[in-house]
């Protein structure tokens, strides 16, 4: 799809979220809710007292708005890809990188992104979109930092992708 058209569609979905719920799109809280729920199964007292998890623990996945959003996003991605015949089992990587190394880097990248998202109190691209369109000062600082961090490291990891 033409990127400007896809962006327009994404913007309308985001606007609809604002108009219906008074909040934007995001993914971090869904992950947080899931982690807090699992943690609560193993150590309920510790989870309920953890500064980073207690907020998520109060909203388990089955009543967490963002969790439903992400379940919907999974379904939307699946249906879109299925209709376009784009579903393939794959480990995406550049020609100079092994499968094991790629998976390890994906895991570490995810972990780094999570620490960043939690620190910033905002979810990532979802919040860059959300806070960005609200002209939220902190979200713009966050978004510029995301681009700065990624551009600064891009040269060092170029063999991963090309």
């Amino acid at each position: 799809m033409n990127p400007y058209l896809a962006g327009f569609g994404l913007g309308l979905v985001l606007l609809a979220a604002f108009l219906i719920m008074g909040r934007g799109l995001g993914a971090t809280a869904a992950f947080g809710s899931l982690v807090a729920w699992l943690s609560g199964l193993a150590a309920p007292a510790w989870t309920a007292a953890s500064p980073a998890l207690k907020g998520y623990y109060a909203e388990p996945p089955w009543i967490n708005w963002t969790f439903y959003l992400i379940v919907g996003a999974f379904a939307g991605s699946l249906v879109s890809a299925q209709l376009a015949h784009r579903i393939r089992w794959r480990i995406e990587r550049g020609p100079h990188l092994g499968v094991g190394a790629r998976l390890l880097l994906a895991f570490c990248g995810g972990a780094s992104a999570a620490v960043g998202a939690r620190l910033a109190r905002v979810c990532t691209s979802g919040q860059a979109l959300t806070g960005g369109s609200q002209l939220n000062a902190g979200s713009w600082i966050f978004m510029l930092s995301v681009f700065a961090g990624a551009y600064a490291l891009a040269w060092f990891v170029r063999r991963e992708w090309r």
């Binding site: 896809a6 309308l12 439903y68 379904a75 995406e92 620190l119 609200q134 000062a137």
Partner: protein, 200 residues
């Protein structure tokens, strides 16, 4: 003044969860249609030969920003009832850098890793697993950082407040800036086309 529906108590929590499924479906649909289920496509943004990420992101931001402003201006939407994340300059600066690092190392952000995993990507699934692990790591390993991020908050702050201009003027500036960025992006894709891997 009847929007947002939830804030005006025109829909219930349960209806909100159903709406989330529908909104999520649209979110996932357009991420997938934009090609964001592909880590190499996303990473390409940072090698300048494919600027799809920037084009999609800023078109979406401009669309929603203009919509929010226009609906508030004609009195249909109460912006006071739309949640705004508090600003915390140091924490958001550092958090953004870590997220950017995770993006270029792992190839995704959390939302796009879900799109990738849904379409069969093992690396997308591992990124999502790593993201969950990172949240647990943050909770277990860095309680001090969490406290700092909370205490550093300076409350709700918007760009019109920072620059002392009206909401409409800043939206206009955003539209102009985005248009210039799109011109720059089209130029960059031509200028750096030789960097595109032959296999793509």
């Amino acid at each position: 003044m009847m929007l947002p529906l939830y804030g005006q108590e025109l829909i219930t929590d349960g209806q909100g969860l159903v709406a989330a499924l529908g909104l999520g479906f649209g979110f996932g649909w357009f991420l997938e249609r934009a090609g964001f289920g592909s880590a190499r496509r996303l990473a390409a943004q940072f090698y300048l030969y494919d600027m799809t990420v920037l084009k999609v992101m800023f078109t979406a931001i401009v669309t929603a920003a203009v919509g929010l402003w226009a609906l508030a201006a004609i009195g249909w939407l109460d912006l006071e009832l739309v949640y705004l994340t508090p600003t915390s300059i140091g924490a958001q600066l550092l958090g953004g850098l870590l997220l950017g690092a995770g993006f270029i190392i792992g190839g995704y952000c959390p939302g796009t890793s879900v799109t990738a995993a849904a379409t069969g990507s093992g690396d997308g699934a591992l990124f999502a697993a790593g993201f969950a692990a990172g949240i647990a790591l943050f909770a277990v390993g860095f309680p001090g950082l969490d406290r700092w991020a909370s205490e550093a908050s300076i409350g709700e702050l918007t760009l019109p407040q920072v620059f002392g201009v009206s909401h409409g003027a800043l939206v206009l500036a955003l539209v102009i800036m985005a248009a210039l960025m799109f011109l720059g992006a089209e130029w960059a894709e031509r200028r750096f086309a030789h960097l595109r891997p032959a296999r793509d």
